[in-house]
């Protein structure tokens, strides 16, 4: 009888140890899952590229007309890129964590007609090394590189038709994707 009671006590102890182990396992898994979910960064680069493209469009086209700093009397100002940041109030200075490397890229192409191959006006700004991401833009390997946004806007200047294509890209992979 005493032997039986001792055996029962031993089994109960084993069982409670087992339950503690399972409890620990489930708790650890829940903590890991929460960490996994909230530790994963939000990828806002596409939105950021969209906002940048919107700002560029807003700067170069006002009331359906091309900015007079870009075109005047039907002649494009080829030096617009040198005053672009000032005219459009852009600041591409990067945070310290990027060691001074500019994290943005943009391109403005203006065509005088639909289907025209070469743009009448072309301007690039920011980090030109990111540009390749907008061409490739596929596969997981390039996900960390940059996200792009493309906008097509119709504009006029002195009654003439112009077709504006704005491409922007945001790098900032370190802050938006787990690499």
């Amino acid at each position: 009888m005493i032997l039986n009671m001792r055996a029962k006590k031993g089994t109960d102890m084993m069982l409670s140890m087992y339950w503690f182990f399972i409890l620990f396992l489930v708790t650890a898994a829940v903590v890991y899952m929460v960490g996994l979910f909230y530790g994963h960064p939000y990828d806002v680069r596409e939105l950021e590229a969209d906002i940048l493209a919107n700002s560029v469009v807003d700067c170069i086209i006002r009331n359906g007309e091309l900015n007079s700093n870009i075109i005047s009397g039907g002649i494009f100002n080829e030096n617009f890129d040198s005053v672009f940041l000032e005219v459009c109030n852009f600041n591409f200075d990067s945070e310290d964590s990027f060691q001074g490397e500019i994290q943005y890229y943009g391109k403005v192409d203006i065509y005088s007609g639909i289907g025209v191959q070469n743009p009448d006006f072309e301007m690039k700004f920011g980090n030109l090394n990111i540009a390749s991401a907008c061409v490739i833009d596929s596969g997981k390997d390039f996900e960390a590189l940059a996200k792009c946004s493309k906008k097509r806007v119709y504009a006029t200047s002195s009654g003439e038709q112009y077709f504006v294509e704005v491409t922007t890209a945001v790098k900032k992979g370190e802050k938006n994707v787990n690499v």
Binding site: L25, I61, G64, I114, R152, Y154, Q161, F163
Partner: protein
């Protein structure tokens, strides 16, 4: 005979616990995998490009609106222009 039956019962009980443990571990691994998938897919919803007013869809994309303003000034080849903007 009694001892033999007791041993069989013990083996069955142990097997039950082993299977239960395996099920718990498999479920936990599945949940961890699913949460990692959801974590990878989470994102911020982009702003609406159109809204419904009186059952009519109205564009609120102001970049598109810029093209509309320009079309008010010069609507030559309007359909072609609209198609180009949308592609």
């Amino acid at each position: 005979m009694l001892m033999y039956k007791n041993k069989r019962a013990q083996t069955a009980e142990t097997m039950t616990w082993v299977v239960a443990t395996i099920i718990i571990i498999v479920l936990l691994i599945a949940f961890i995998y699913i949460s990692s998938l959801i974590a990878g897919a989470k994102g911020i919803e982009r702003f609406a490009k159109s809204i419904k007013i009186n059952d009519k869809t109205v564009s609120v994309d102001w970049v598109e609106e810029k093209s509309e303003i320009a079309l008010d000034k010069n609507n030559q080849n309007e359909n072609q222009v609209r198609n180009w903007v949308k592609t």
